[in-house]
């Protein structure tokens, strides 16, 4: 209990009061008679257990805060962190350039970026702890446990998101460049961060989705790492139209669009629906776009071509006239 109180004191008192907290802990928390021996690097506290009748002497080393975070070390840590940040930014910039300049590998390169981010920061933090601070294992465990406990209480949601980020990176339900739909939000993934994932919607809005929410929701991925993805254009027509003719028009509209990816099939499905108490025919034209960036252009072009051709042939008017004649 006493230990826990000191750990909290250590965390809450801030850097200025921390050495005092440690000093207090080192004097009060151990045995009664304490001999403090100062050395160059550490202050070794040799405790003599006077209560023990056997006369065994226990020596422990407690490193002082000033030694762990001396001015030189803090400068070095700052330098490493700033360097890592800049290096990371430079790498992301260069990889983004490379991705844009090599369209065939665009998605592959972009999906490497989150892994590199995590990897570089992990190496940097490891280097800071083991290479610069170099604390004894007891300190690492104590501080680690304290920080873990404190952060655990204070920032449950952030931790959830960070773990969610790790799960997204490892499980890969989607990658940067994919078109995904989560909880009714649809867009292209531009960044997978540790806390959140960013998507750009068709109307160019940037949405940050917390990773924890993504992990707990169903994700629909349109292209799963490929450059192409399926596009569905729906056309509603009166039930009296010549369906075979409409299907032919729809198919030709899709295959003649400049944005269509011809290595994948173009399919036209017909569904019977009721709109405003009237029977209607829904044409669903399923085609693949050659680059997800043209997704909405393909959809628009297919719709435009079909409607223009139907109007040119006056197919709806003729169908209506025929229907009236039959009645």
């Amino acid at each position: 209990m006493k230990n826990t109180i000191y750990i909290f004191a250590f965390l809450l008192m801030g850097s200025a009061s921390m050495p005092n907290a440690w000093a207090q802990y080192s004097t009060n928390g151990t045995a009664q008679d304490t001999i403090v021996v100062a050395t160059q690097d550490t202050i070794a506290v040799a405790s003599k257990d006077t209560a023990g009748a056997t006369g065994i002497t226990i020596d422990t080393n407690v490193v002082q805060f000033e030694d762990l975070f001396s001015a030189t070390k803090v400068t070095a840590i700052l330098f490493v962190l700033i360097f890592t940040f800049l290096f990371n930014r430079l790498l992301v910039f260069l990889l983004s350039r490379l991705a844009e300049n090599q369209p065939a590998y665009r998605l592959l390169i972009k999906r490497i970026i989150p892994f590199l981010n995590v990897g570089i920061w992990t190496i940097a933090i490891f280097f800071v702890i083991s290479g610069i601070i170099d604390p004894p294992i007891e300190t690492v465990l104590t501080v680690g446990a304290s920080i873990g406990l404190a952060i655990g209480f204070a920032s449950q949601d952030i931790l959830k998101n960070i773990f969610g980020g790790f799960i997204i990176i490892l499980d890969s339900p989607f990658q940067v460049g994919d078109k995904i739909e989560i909880d009714g939000m649809y867009g292209e993934v531009t960044e997978i961060g540790l806390r959140s994932t960013r998507i750009v919607t068709p109307d160019d809005s940037l949405i940050s989705l917390p990773n924890a929410d993504i992990v707990n929701n169903a994700v629909s991925n349109s292209n799963t790492g490929e450059l192409y993805c399926q596009v569905v254009a729906s056309i509603y027509l009166p039930s009296t139209v010549n369906i075979a003719e409409m299907k032919e028009i729809a198919y030709k509209a899709a295959i003649t669009s400049r944005y269509v990816y011809m290595n994948k099939p173009v399919v036209v499905n017909v569904e019977n629906t009721i709109t405003e108490r009237m029977f209607a025919v829904q044409l669903k034209v399923k085609a693949y776009v050659l680059d997800i960036r043209y997704e909405f252009l393909l959809k628009s072009e297919i719709t435009e071509l079909i409607l223009t051709e139907i109007n040119r042939r006056k197919a709806i008017q003729e169908a209506k006239a025929e229907s009236v004649e039959t009645k």
Binding site: L94, L98, N101, L227, T256, N263, E304, E309
Partner: protein, 472 residues
């Protein structure tokens, strides 16, 4: 007056510094004098001095050379990386400037015209070529002959010849024609301008077959089937019989009907460009209409070299290959520098290695690249420049609209302003602007309002479009 403590300390420090300086100066003067005396006493000092001066100069030279070498190597190494990342801070020396590239492309005809007439005639890439100049890729003549024999025996065979523009489709037909001892009943229908309406198709077919009053495909089918003798029909330019437009497939659909209904009476030999074939196959599965498929743009690098050398060997000129600066610095070049024959063979191999890589099995591309590489003709010697590939990035006009326009031009082989407007669903003026921009840069060639892609950039354009997933 009490002197402040700081002034005292300052005075003390100042006197201490003066003392130290004096001692150091004294010691240095003494040491220098001692060293000079020592050097003077060395018996061969002037000689050693000269040696040291020479050594120092050499070291300076060495350092300067090393620096120059390192900078050059760094630039060579750094440039491709820079290009890869899309930075253009340092100009790529292998890349032509926009103006140079456009000039290079547009002046092709003029440059070729400067060559001796006899030499130009040898490299004319028309269908009519001499026997010894023909390179039979994939033994296509044999395949077409066998298909014809099978048709004569009563099997309903037909042939589709597929290949890039200028890859030898018409030449194959010409070679096939020469295999007959007795001239059979034959008909050639060459579709040069785009057609996509049934009436256009029927009009051309009716006049070719000699039929009158043909308004429906069925009438033509009846007319052909009523003929006593079987006929060979060479239908050239299937890529011009459709438009990639919602109403652009009517003529083609009528053609399939005519071909399938007249198979017994007609031995159909149809030629189609590679990319139109690929598109139509994916859209309509047209390969099911043919029993034999022959590809002409599959020449090996050796065959391409033979195409060039067979023609050249018929001329009176001898060849002299030039080396560029990079090659001249290479070890391969330096090793052979004293043996002219070996050096020329080395340069020739180097040239054809790079040229066939760009030609990719297309004979006419190889021929135009060869003619364009001829630097000068002096007496009986033709000097061939080192091969330089054209980098389209230099054009700086490659917007997505331009890329789609190029894709449609490759699909249809040639298009007019109105036709491009139709396939791209754009206005006539936009279409005209697009085509004229490409023409002014030398990427397109115009002949009577018909725009075609310059063969010199065919491969680069194809690679670019494939890279962007526009042609698959």
């Amino acid at each position: 007056m009490k002197i402040p403590k700081w002034t005292k300390v300052k005075n003390h420090l100042s006197s201490l510094w003066t003392k130290i300086r004096g001692k150091v100066a004294l010691y240095s003067r003494f040491t220098i004098r001692k060293v000079k005396a020592f050097i003077k006493n060395i018996p061969r000092w002037p000689k050693i001095k000269n040696h040291l001066i020479a050594y120092w100069a050499k070291t300076q030279d060495g350092v300067a050379l090393f620096l120059r070498f390192s900078i050059r190597k760094f630039k060579i190494l750094f440039l491709p990386i820079q290009r890869l990342f899309g930075f253009n801070v340092i100009k790529d020396p292998s890349k032509f400037k926009t103006v140079d590239l456009s000039t290079y492309l547009t002046e092709t005809d003029a440059k070729v015209a400067e060559l001796p007439r006899s030499y130009r005639e040898l490299f004319k890439y028309t269908a009519e070529i001499e026997n010894e100049l023909f390179v039979n890729a994939s033994n296509n003549v044999l395949h077409i002959t066998k298909a014809h024999e099978a048709w004569q025996e009563g099997l309903a065979t037909n042939v589709a010849i597929i290949g890039e523009r200028g890859s030898g489709k018409s030449t194959l037909i010409t070679r096939f024609k020469t295999t007959f001892e007795e001239e059979p009943a034959e008909l050639t229908i060459d579709v040069v301008n785009s057609l996509w309406r049934i009436e256009q198709l029927l009009s051309i077919f009716a006049s070719s077959f000699g039929a009158t009053d043909v308004h429906k495909p069925e009438t033509l089918i009846r007319f052909i089937n009523n003929q006593k003798e079987g006929t060979i029909v060479y239908l050239e330019g299937l890529q011009n019989m459709f438009l990639r437009n919602i109403n652009g497939f009517d003529a083609l659909e009528a053609l399939w009907l005519i071909i399938s209904e007249t198979k017994d009476k007609v031995f159909w030999v149809v030629t189609c460009s590679r990319y139109a074939w690929d598109f139509l196959n994916k859209a309509e599965g047209i390969e099911t209409h043919f029993t034999h498929l022959l590809f002409t743009d599959v020449m090996t690098d050796e065959q391409l070299k033979t195409v060039i050398m067979n023609r050249h060997s018929k001329s009176v000129y001898r060849l002299d290959y030039d080396a560029d600066e990079v090659t001249k610095r290479s070890r391969g070049y330096k090793k052979r520098i004293h043996k002219q024959d070996e050096l020329q063979k080395y340069l020739s191999d180097l040239y054809f290695h790079e040229m066939t890589d760009i030609a990719e099995g297309n004979a006419s591309v190889a021929i135009i690249l060869w003619l364009r590489s001829i630097k000068k003709v002096e007496g009986r010697t033709i000097t061939v420049s080192p091969f330089r590939a054209i980098n389209l990035d230099g054009l700086e006009i490659l917007t997505s609209e331009i890329l789609f326009a190029l894709a449609f031009l490759i699909l249809h082989d040639s298009l007019k302003v109105a036709e491009l407007a139709r396939v791209m669903n754009i206005g006539l003026s936009d279409s005209r602007v697009l085509l004229s921009r490409l023409k002014s840069r030398g990427v397109l060639l115009e002949n009577n309002g018909l725009y075609t892609l310059n063969q010199l950039v065919l491969r680069q354009v194809l690679r670019l479009l494939k890279k962007r997933n526009i042609i698959h």
